[in-house]
Amino acid sequence: MDIFIQQILNGLVLGSIYALIALGYTMVYGIMGLINFAHGEVVMFGAMVCITVVSTLTHSGVNLPGWAIVLIGTLVAIPACALLGFVIERVAYRPLRGAQRLAPLITAIGLSITLQQVAILIWGRNYIPFPDLLNSDTVSIMGASITKLQVMIVVLCVVLMTGLLVIVEKTKLGRAMRATSQNPSVAGLMGVNVNTIISATFMLGSALGAIAGVMVATNYSQAHYYMGFMIGLKAFTAAVLGGIGNLGGAVAGGILLGIIESLGAGYIGQLTGGFLGSNYQDIFAFMVLILVLIFRPSGLLGEKMADRA
């Protein structure tokens, strides 16, 4: 039973990070109807930029508490990633708007490779450790333990998601975003500057991605140029699971996927009589993805969309 609760908690932490990244995918999909394949790389850049700032600050001997240094790192990473998101949209997607579907997918993959290589150029091929600055005390809940950092991650995710929901539902920008996602040309006629809105969507999604990247780096205490690929893919799975284009769905899908994954990794050994071990963890996300797309392609919370895919 202890293991069960432990795995649920782990899944919750992992899931809230997935949810944060999934929001980036789902926002872009909702507005433009395309998968931003390079989003995982934005997450990676967020982690890398934060680590660079944090390491520089610690090495320069600034007398600040650990959390303040990480906060500064995050605050640098957010605009950096927002800028990256803006550039990605301008370079790879805007010129191809209205082109055949395959073209933006290929540019996105190309961009993804390019960004990974740029990351190698800047940060090298090795794992980069995240300086040990944050409190790693554990709290115990019903016999399972969770670090304070992980509690912080979950809380912060909830706050950010609520914030995003408020932006989308209550502000003028959010209304323009919703209008653009329903019908870009009519939104344009109503005085919405569609290009600005699309740029803003990319920047908002990328900013969330940056924070998620920092969370991943702090949670695993390291970052790597290739980290964006797998986590991006899983977050995309989460977005599809919840119903792509639907913000609440992305959150639900993310948390559900995180829990499925950690429960799966925890119990697969028992279930298969020791034949498959926890190193098959990555398979669950893909299995879930395939099953969802077969049985409920519109996702858990998504509306019916026969011709969208």
């Binding site: 395309l34 998968i35 370079v91 790879a92 010129p95 191809l96 209205g98 082109a99 055949q100 579907r101 395959l102 073209a103 933006p104 997918l105 290929i106 540019t107 993959i109 190309g110 961009l111 993804s112 490779i113 390019t114 960004l115 990974q116 290589q117 740029v118 190698i120 150029l121 690929f229 893919l233 995309f236 799975t237 599809v240 020791g274 034949f275 498959l276 071990g277 190193n279 098959y280 990555d282 398979i283 996300a285 893909f286 299995m287 993805l289 395939i290 797309l293 077969i294 392609p297 895919a309």
Partner: protein, 360 residues
């Protein structure tokens, strides 16, 4: 008039044939055997790209997990022809068997994704490719099947009519190293795949694929069985992938999960897209260019940096991938129809452009 054209075509055909036959000697003489090896790989990639072209180019089903079929073919050959299990079946059993397995996997993948299109299909196939790779990486415990990340070693070379392609042979006083021998084998099979692809393209099936790509509903209304025709595309594409995989296994003598990463799938897709999707000549061109160009870059980037800047600024592998990624983006922006597009594709792109111009 037509007769003159035909004889001209025939002349070109014969010239190409002779050029392809003497190619390894020219390349080997001028640049050494390592380049013949690269040419061999180019032929393997031509086979792979033509296989994927059936799925993506003809039927319009975007597949990002194609490398899985290559892997299935390669591992089938490796497991049935190496000391790993102590089984040494001949290639004329293992390669067809690998191709059949690959086709079976193609149908296995195709069945659940029949309803999916576009980006969704791309992601699911990508996931499928990763699942296959993860299994290959981990199926070494508790029962050792694939030997995990270490891969399988000492795979039997191909024996054709008592001749071992893995050792040099003497022919009329000429010593032919294995890379030359495999070249001819690969060439023969590539020609076979090209013939299969071009015969398919203009057949009833090929036209059904085009109809499916253009408009699934209309195709279905015209009496095409969408399910069967899609599965056929997956199966036939996978078949060529499986054959290429078996050959790769024999040629390399070693397979490991590392050779079947997502990047390889993307590479093959890039060959098709950059070459000219749906056009056999374009796909061949794309495959050859994308196999040879990185090798040339590998030889050029390092020395060039040493000469101009006196030191290595960018590691050549890094620079090569960087250029590759950027080339993909630029190509899509500048010439999305590819280097040698098929007539139909060209017309489609022109239509889309005109429509966009009218709209804007």
């Amino acid at each position: 008039m037509t007769k003159a054209l035909d004889s001209k075509k025939l002349g070109l055909f014969i010239a190409c044939g002779i050029a392809l036959c003497v190619l390894p000697f020219v390349v080997g003489g001028a640049l050494g055997n390592s380049w013949v090896r690269i040419v061999d790989f180019a032929l393997l990639y031509v086979m792979l790209a033509l296989g994927l072209n059936i799925v993506v180019g003809f039927a319009g089903l975007l597949d990002l997990g194609f490398i899985a079929f290559y892997a299935v073919g390669a591992y089938t050959y490796a497991l049935l022809g190496s000391p790993h299990f102590g089984i040494h079946w001949p290639f004329y059993v293992t390669i067809p068997l690998g191709a059949l397995f690959a086709a079976f996997f193609g149908i296995l993948l195709g069945t659940p994704v029949l309803r999916l299109k576009g980006d969704y299909l791309a992601i699911v196939t990508l996931g499928f490719g990763e699942i296959v790779r993860i299994f290959m990486n981990n199926l070494n415990a508790p029962v050792n099947i694939t030997n995990g990340p270490q891969g399988i070693n000492l795979i039997d070379p191909i024996h054709v009519a008592g001749v071992d392609l893995g050792t040099p042979i003497n022919l009329f006083g000429l010593s032919l190293p294995p890379v030359y021998l495999y070249y001819y084998l690969f060439l023969a099979l590539t020609v076979l795949v090209v013939i299969m692809a071009s015969r398919l393209q203009h057949s009833r099936i090929g036209r059904a694929w085009v109809a499916l790509r253009e408009d699934q509903v209309a195709a279905s209304a015209m009496g095409i069985n969408i399910r069967n025709i899609k599965l056929l595309a997956f199966a036939l594409g996978a078949l060529s992938g499986g054959v290429a995989g078996g050959l790769f296994s024999a040629f390399q003598g070693f397979v490991s999960p590392e050779s079947f990463s997502l990047l390889e799938s993307i590479m093959i897709l890039a060959m098709i897209v950059l070459g000219g999707m749906g056009n056999i000549a374009g796909v061949i061109l794309g495959a050859v260019v994308l196999t040879i160009a990185p090798e040339i870059l590998r030889d050029v980037i390092g020395p060039l940096q040493m000469k101009t800047m006196g030191r290595m600024l960018i590691d050549p592998e890094n620079a090569r991938m960087l250029l590759f990624g950027m080339a993909m983006v630029v190509m899509m922006l500048v010439r999305p129809e590819g280097m040698l597009p098929s007539k139909r594709r060209k017309a489609e792109f022109k239509d889309a452009k005109d429509a966009a111009a009218q709209k804007g």
